[in-house]
């Protein structure tokens, strides 16, 4: 009937209190890369989850290869040859790659013609072949726990390919990857398309869309805004459609004015639980008014450096000075008091109490002292007043004001709440780890602005990010980490993106 392999017509999906998708109609052609774009909470994941069989639409129809279908389960989706690579990996870290891939479609053999068992050996071989044929080489007997993020993503892709999907949905696949890995992934995606597969790509990164996508749908607050032909649309236009206003990609920033030294890290060494050195003899200093960024591929020790400075991880060697004072063995709270703000990487399990209300979360670093409490007694009124003030000041959006349970807030707003709380501490040192992860471009712009504002107030800022663009955009000084060692420290101006990339891969060092 039509040349669309996937057609979604008048799809509406509601969740308690929100219409996640509001009468959305899109069609996707066989063999194209179709991108979905939209702010946090625009309804992209929800829309695709209905193709993947995680949800069913409240209203509307879905046609696959021209036939009307009701996709009731992921299994059903797989039968329709639809596969979804989720934003949050769905892997069993205790299992091997093979076990993860075959889960749900296990090849069975019979022992003595009677006792069926899962034929792992055969599966291993098959997966090895499969991974080679798509250029996604993996060792199928390795455990997930021993893999880095990008390898884990390969496993997710292999999972889908193993099930012989020809409609592949990628939900924010690049959010956790390094530039090189992103490059590689985009090549693979293109390869898949050229091999005849249909790809749907959800991402916040417009340049990626520009690079690979054929067409692009823009969602805003659950509604379809437009479907664009990527080749003929500018990045700025896309951004504008998505956010509803002009967005600037370059952070505006006055030249830095360095003040006195705030943080001094000397010969820092950190071991992980298994006693393995993940940070090796790292030394650097940060001055007031300086944004010091650590660039590096994920899992190269940068998060451990931040944790060590903030006190969440034990240091096995070296010294940390804050404002000239040795804080190497101080408690976390004493460090906060001494002047450290910390925006952690994992906002759900570290940065926030999802089951507590917003007011409480905003007071998390100060509740134990005046004016939030006196003599050990909490002052709930102060919680609410300060909370309301911060909500206004930082434009944190939540359903029920300070009383909102943080779990129900959108990721972007959760992040804003953390940043607000940490900025309010007015600490001389601020540590930002992945501050813009999974946040839409409108919000990214805001967060960058805030970081630079703090710098201009004379704060020392440690920024850790996997996004090279972000680092090149915001940093004054860049340290590149590889395998737990700082390969290079230099001013932003003296480095090119390419150079940093090479240091990051360990291809170049001093």
């Amino acid at each position: 009937m039509s040349d669309y392999i996937v057609e979604m017509k008048h799809i509406t999906k509601r969740f308690p209190g929100i219409v996640a998708n509001d009468d959305v109609s899109i069609g996707i052609k066989k063999g194209e890369i179709f991108a979905l774009l939209g702010e946090n909470g625009a309804g992209k994941s929800t829309l695709m989850s209905m193709l993947g069989g995680m949800y069913e639409p409240d209203e509307g129809e879905i046609y696959i290869r021209g036939e009307k279908v009701t996709i009731s389960s992921p299994n059903h989706a797989a039968k329709l040859n639809i596969g979804m690579v989720h934003q949050h990996f769905k892997l069993v870290s205790d299992y091997t790659i093979t076990e993860n891939i075959i889960l749900g479609v296990e090849p069975i053999r019979k022992f003595a013609g009677l006792f069926p068992y899962v034929d792992i050996r055969n599966a291993n071989r098959k997966i090895e072949e499969l991974s080679k044929s798509f250029g996604l080489e993996v060792d199928p007997t390795k455990k997930i726990a021993d893999l880095n993020v990008s390898m884990q993503q390969r496993v997710e892709i292999l999972k889908v390919l193993y099930r012989e999907a020809d409609i592949l949905i990628f939900d924010e696949p690049t959010a956790v990857l390094t530039p090189q890995e992103i490059e590689f992934l985009l090549e693979i995606i293109k390869g898949l398309r050229d091999g005849g597969k249909t790809i749907i790509l959800i991402t916040h990164k417009l340049d990626e869309i520009k690079k690979v996508a054929d067409r692009c749908a823009v969602l805003n607050k659950g509604k379809l805004v437009d479907v664009l032909d990527v080749k003929t649309t500018s990045v700025n236009r896309m951004a504008q459609l998505m956010v509803g206003r002009e967005v600037s990609f370059e952070a505006e920033k006055a030249p830095a004015e360095f003040k006195e030294e705030v943080l001094k890290v000397e010969h820092l060494t950190v071991k992980n639980e298994d006693g393995f050195e993940v940070v090796k003899d790292v030394s650097f200093t940060i001055r007031g008014g300086e944004i010091f960024a650590i660039a590096g591929v994920a899992d190269n020790g940068q998060v451990e450096i931040a944790d060590a400075i903030a006190g969440l991880t034990k240091v096995s060697g070296g010294t940390i000075f804050l404002g000239g004072k040795d804080i190497t063995n101080e408690t976390i709270r004493n460090r906060t008091e001494a002047g450290i703000s910390y925006i952690p990487e994992d906002r759900h399990s570290f940065g926030l109490f999802l089951d507590f209300d917003l007011a409480t979360n905003l007071a998390l670093k100060q509740y134990y002292r005046e004016p939030y409490s006196s003599k050990g007694i909490l002052n709930k009124e102060e919680f609410e007043q300060s909370g309301s003030r911060l909500i206004d000041k930082y434009d944190i959006r939540s359903g029920q004001g300070v009383k909102t349970q943080v779990r129900s807030m959108s990721g972007g707003n959760q992040q804003k709440a953390i940043i607000a709380r940490e900025i309010e501490l007015q600490s001389p040192l601020m540590i930002f780890v992945q501050p813009t992860r999974g946040v839409d471009i409108g919000a990214i712009e805001n967060i960058h602005k805030m970081i630079i504002e703090e710098r201009d107030r004379g704060k020392a800022i440690l920024l850790i990010s996997l996004e090279l663009d972000e680092i090149m955009n915001v940093a004054d000084t860049i340290g590149v980490i590889y395998n737990g060692q700082l390969q290079k420290i230099a001013s932003r101006e003296s480095l090119t993106t390419n150079e940093v990339g090479e240091y990051m891969m360990g291809a170049k060092h001093e």
Binding site: F15, H76, A78, K90, L91, V92, V118
Partner: protein, 319 residues
């Protein structure tokens, strides 16, 4: 010395099979403190069925112990439905559900035992009297020094338990069901994404734990007193849980833990007897298994790892 092994085994094995039940449930992500209740209710149904059948068909109750074992498994499984529904469908707190089920099992079975005795059999009794299970000795093997005791005075149920345990091991580690089950306890989202119904697997797992606990309960009923009464609730369910945590949720180490309990228990009684101490001293030897467990845990707990999603309420929508 022989008694230590004989009694130790006949205690350790029912405990072991209950612990395996616990492993199934917990490996699938459902905390299971309800083993005690399952074993009690299972034994109740087993004993009741044996009595009813003996009554209806005039069969000698002595010949019905396999029937009793079978129905005990069914009974344990039926009672496990409550835990499964509470934890999986009603999303109740799993620890609480377990405790509640234990309380309910004790109350229900004592109430029903007397009620059924007076209403159905017209006798006033708070227990169901069963026949004893005949023990056997494998003549050749029993003569081997020390190890021979393993083959001496064996309850048939011990053999049944070993066979089932081997099958349970195979099912959990070698089949696709087992693979999915263990994945449910680690990351249910991955199982769900793979198109497998998490709830169904967990239901099955909890029912299996009920089934095995019922079996264990019936074995205890036979080996201790050959009847069913509320004295079956002696905290063995909790002991089984301790054993499986101690065994790091793995079948073989859990067997070791159960044997430790069993031998320490029979050994304690044996030492007290052979040292000719007053019976009060037996109490001091009775703490042996528990103290040893605590001490061993101090050394091993650091590496102990519960299934990652254990006790978490699985909600598709929640990420």
């Amino acid at each position: 010395m022989d008694t230590v092994i004989i009694d130790g085994l006949s205690f350790a094995l029912p405990l072991f099979i209950m612990a395996i039940g616990g492993i199934y449930s917990e490996k699938s992500g459902i905390t299971n403190l309800a083993l005690e209740g399952f074993q009690g209710f299972g034994a109740f149904i087993g004993a009741l069925s044996a009595i009813l059948i003996a009554n209806a068909f005039g069969t000698d109750i002595q010949d019905l112990f396999y029937v009793a074992l079978l129905f005990a498994m069914v009974g344990g499984m039926v009672f496990a439905i409550i835990h499964a529904v509470l934890c999986i469908k009603f999303k109740a707190n799993q620890v609480i559900s377990g405790v509640v089920i234990n309380i309910l099992a004790l109350a229900l079975t004592t109430f029903l035992t007397t009620q059924i005795n007076s209403l159905v059999f017209g006798t006033a009794s708070d227990k169901f009297q069963l026949g004893v299970m005949e023990r056997f000795t494998i003549s050749g093997l029993a003569d081997i020094p020390v190890i021979g005791a393993i083959f001496t005075n064996v309850y048939p149920f011990e053999v049944i338990i070993i066979v089932i345990a081997i099958f349970a091991w195979y099912l959990l580690y070698k089949t696709k069901f087992g693979m999915r089950l263990r994945a449910c306890g680690e990351n249910p989202h991955s199982v769900d994404a793979a198109g497998v119904d998490v709830a169904k697997i967990r239901y099955t797992a909890v029912l299996i734990s009920g089934l095995l606990s019922g079996l264990g309960g019936m074995c205890f009923a036979y080996s201790i007193s050959a009847n069913f009464s509320s004295s079956i609730y002696m905290g063995y369910g909790f002991l089984a849980i301790a054993a499986l945590i101690f065994g790091n949720w793995k079948i073989i180490p859990t067997l070791a833990a159960c044997l430790l309990f069993g031998f320490a228990k029979s050994g304690g009684a044996f030492i007290a007897q052979s040292m000719a101490l007053p019976s009060s001293y037996t109490d001091l030897f009775m703490i042996l298994p528990y103290v040893v467990t605590l001490l061993l845990l101090i050394f091993f707990s650091k590496s102990n790892r519960a299934p990652k999603a254990l006790g978490e309420i699985y909600d598709k929508g929640k990420r």
